[in-house]
Amino acid sequence: MEHYKMNLTLKVWRQKNHQDKGQFVTYQVAGISSEMSFLEMFDVLNENLIEEGKEPIAFDHDCREGICGTCSMYINGRPHGPWQGTTTCQLHMRAFKDGDTIVVEPWRANAFPVVKDLIVDRSAFDRIIQAGGFISVNTGNAVDGNTLPIEKSRADESFAAAACIGCGACVAACKNSSAMLFVSAKVSHLALLPQGEPEKHSRVLNMITHMDKEGFGACSNTGACEAVCPKEISLDNIARLNMEYLGSSLTMDK
């Protein structure tokens, strides 16, 4: 692997708080190594800003291993940047070349209000889970784990849906700011397992109702969400959700 250094122009969204209008601010960074991660490049920029007596750019990040779902930058018009199936923290600077201009914005959606700079409030996702994204089993109620065999392909499919990290890139990519990919991943994860069966009707209805209540838009099946999902959650989950929703609407007395 050839390593190289680069100088970059960054246009970063700065916004003091939710009330502030916000604007792009342009920064230059020099001597960035192709071995750095994208967030390490931001660390360098922030250290420069601190040195200059300016306030560093606020951004969300934690595990920096692509699994916690905290990081959330909209880079050059795409959530998490140019690499397929990759979170912002796992994007590395070899994706860019010397002289590039990079535009960085927060997730933009009514249901995700900006808190400061690149940080948004995604607590709506927690509330959607509260509406039904669980299996109601108290601690201590469980039978032996091998009592109920689950067909491997079904278990694998459930796992693939459960891989969602709740980052919200799907919402940020969607022109309607729909949370359908997120909701469908949870509905699929649980509906595919026999343990999730007893609540499957109420779960899908309640979660969808709550998603609407939070102000997420409707799904028009353009697939932008799937294209940017860092965990490559499949659009098939939305199809499954629609099926579950229709079936549940017909059978549930609501």
Binding site: I50, D62, E65, P149
Partner: protein, 657 residues
């Protein structure tokens, strides 16, 4: 003095007897009792959910934007349980014994046996919650091997086991939030414990969005705030992982136990440069199939694929034929360091060894060809089929490696090096998980209790969930049964006012330094001292130097720190400054503890104490104790010893040969 409250009676009956005789709280009283849970990783989320289910009024806090982001989520490989589904001779006793031995005889028999006993219940509970564990074609749960054991007892969900277990606990927690049993406080950081009449009665937290301080009362406080690996700056911990909650408790009188027991994980992606902000682990499960080697010749610059078999040194297989590449983490890490120190390291920094899958790819390829009935398969076909099998097993880990390094591990061996990963030390707790402060509990990685001087792989998830789902729901009742007459204490009580003022003063003090150096720069320097002088190998002279350097650095920190922004605003630099200030104090205690322990055991390797073959040399006659440190003033600690007694697992020198 220190009373571990281990129940009397035979080892295998202790927990059962405890559960049958501990005090209970009736449901009407539970509704009146409030419990605070700090942290929402496996221990915190499982505890908050389970206590909410029981009917207690729970308040739960995390510094992240959602409880689902706690760092348990990043655990990759798996979770142990003595189910013996594989019919390979596993049992509660064997899991207990492996864990005691793996911990180098520095943990409590009673706690570890309880952990082994409830391990099976954890798997059952998780399956019931919808955790999608890996399964075999017959639909039953799959297992794999992990380091330090000879049986297959590790349950897993690809390389995302921690994520799936945490999502399970998170969903249980959110269900309790929806039912009104738990109130969740996201983006809140605990900054002090409030003590009233010698008991923990609440906490002071800071709302990280507004910067506002808040007072919260409870009848009991649970700290489930994780480990302190970030004291080394570079570690596999998340950027926000910190010791602050545990350290504040320590400053209020809670003993800190065995701080020098830090785990350096053998298989991490090596450091690339000064810009490095954290390190990334490659799951221990890779050692099931990957073979670790270095060139036989010093400074061999050839590409790994060009070095022939007979010019490679598979040093773990050579030194430890019985366990081979699956020796425990401390042993594997030290062996890698030894080779690199001797000049056999690879890569541009020479601080790396190879983790090679070529043999496994070939073996799996042959098996697949056989299964598919391909006769006389050519080499390319075998490699292609083998790569598919390896991808199925470890695909996400291989992808992660490639994203970070830009190298394809299917084609060239991974380069790996040890990195700080887990801390076995933590707040001292008794059998009930209570610290020496009444009403203050500590669960999961934040406590010291179950892993001794070295944790075996796939045991952290087990301990976090054991504490939260199956231990605390019983042991907390034993305390709260005596608290049913305690009315809620209003938060204008002088103890709350005073605690809040102290927190507020400290924040102002930090903000008013107005020096020239950033928090990050101080943290990096602290990390370097710790890694160089209190890392994989330690000696008395180095530790003494480290203590001096830490004191000097701390003095400079409080004189020349620069924090931009405001107090009453979202200010990540200020958050970080508070955490680094606590790390600066903890670092000294780690070194003091390491200096006190004149022996080598598990993750604590003192160069002065090793066998002629370079293995750790324990000194049971003098150091078979838990070192519990009580803070007595600035830079001043008193050591309390809890002697460890081994009635069943008699200490012997660990051998993995």
């Amino acid at each position: 003095m220190l009373n571990s409250k281990i129940p009397a009676g035979p080892l295998e009956d202790k927990w059962m007897n405890y559960k049958s005789t501990c005090k209970l709280v009736n449901p009407a009283n539970k509704r009146k009792l409030e419990i605070i849970v700090v942290g929402t990783g496996l221990a915190g989320a499982s505890a908050a959910a389970s206590l909410g289910e029981l009917g207690y009024k729970v308040k739960c806090y995390c510094f992240q934007d959602s409880p689902r982001r706690a760092h348990s989520i990043a655990a990759q490989g798996g979770i142990n349980a003595s189910k013996n589904y594989q019919n390979d001779g596993d049992s509660v006793f064997r899991l207990f014994y492996d864990t005691i031995k793996g911990g180098d005889y520095r943990s409590r028999e009673g706690n570890v046996h309880r952990l082994a006993e409830v391990s099976g219940n954890i798997i059952d509970q998780c399956v019931a919650q919808g955790v999608p564990f890996a399964r075999e074609y017959g639909g039953l749960l799959s297992n794999r091997s992990f380091g330090g054991t000879l049986v297959q007892r590790t349950f897993y969900a690809a390389g995302q086991t921690g994520q799936q277990l945490l999502i399970g606990a998170y969903q249980a927690l959110e269900r309790q939030v929806a039912l009104g049993n738990v109130k969740m406080y996201n983006r809140h950081e605990m900054l002090d414990v409030v003590m009233i009449d010698g008991k923990a009665r609440g906490i002071i937290v800071r709302d990280l969005i507004t910067g506002k301080l808040e007072r919260h009362f409870a009848h009991a406080v649970l700290l489930c705030s994780g480990g302190y690996g970030n004291v080394f700056y570079l570690s596999t911990n998340a950027m926000g992982s910190n010791v602050t909650a545990a350290w504040k408790a320590h400053k209020k009188g809670a003993y800190f136990a065995n701080p020098c027991y830090t785990q350096i994980h053998p298989t991490c992606i090596p450091v690339t440069g000064d810009h490095q902000s954290k390190l990334t682990l490659m799951s221990e499960s890779l050692r099931n199939d990957g073979r670790i080697w270095v060139p036989l010749k010093k400074g061999d610059d050839r590409k790994p694929t060009q070095i022939p078999e007979n010019e490679r040194d598979y040093y773990l297989e050579r030194r430890y034929p019985a366990y081979g590449n699956l020796v425990p983490r401390d042993v594997a890490s030290r062996a890698a360091k030894e080779r690199c120190d001797e000049g056999y390291g690879v890569g541009s920094s020479r601080q790396a060894v190879y983790l090679d899958f070529a043999t496994a790819i070939h073996r799996y390829g042959l098996m697949e060809a056989g299964k598919q009935g391909i006769e006389n398969a050519d080499a390319d076909t075998i490699i292609k089929l083998g790569r598919e099998v390896v991808k199925e097993k470890y695909g996400n880990l291989f992808d992660m490696y490639e994203k970070i390094t830009g190298e394809n591990p299917y084609l060239v061996p991974m380069r790996i090096y040890p990195a700080v990963h887990y801390t076995m030390g933590g707040l001292w707790v008794d059998y009930e998980l209570m610290t020496n402060i009444p009403g203050l509990y500590c669960l999961g990685e934040a406590n010291f209790s179950d892993h001794g001087a070295n944790r075996l792989g796939a045991s952290a998830l087990m301990q976090g969930l054991a504490d939260g789902y199956f231990v605390i729901p019983y042991t907390i009742g034993n305390y709260l049964a005596n608290e049913i007459r305690t009315e809620n204490i209003p938060t204008d009580h002088p103890a709350f006012v005073e605690a809040e003022k102290a927190v507020s003063d400290r924040i102002s003090r930090l903000m008013n330094i107005k020096g020239n150096q950033s928090v990050e720069s101080f943290h990096k320097r602290l990390g370097k001292i710790m890694w160089n002088k209190c890392g994989m190998a330690r000696n008395a002279d180095g530790l003494k130097e480290a203590i001096g350097e830490i004191r000097t650095l701390r003095e400079e920190f409080w004189r020349d720190l620069k924090i931009p922004g405001d107090i009453n605003d979202l200010n990540p630099e200020l958050d970080k400054a508070g955490r680094v200030a606590d790390f600066m104090e903890l670092a000294e205690l780690i070194c003091i503890d390491a200096l006190d322990r004149n022996e080598s055991c598990g993750g604590h390797f003192r160069e002065e104490y090793q066998t002629p073959e370079g293995e750790a040399l324990r000194r049971d006659d003098q150091y078979q104790y838990v070192a519990a440190w009580e803070l007595q003033g600035e830079n001043k600690w008193e050591l309390h010893k809890e002697e460890l007694e081994f009635e069943v697992a008699k200490p012997s020198q660990r051998s993995y040969k």
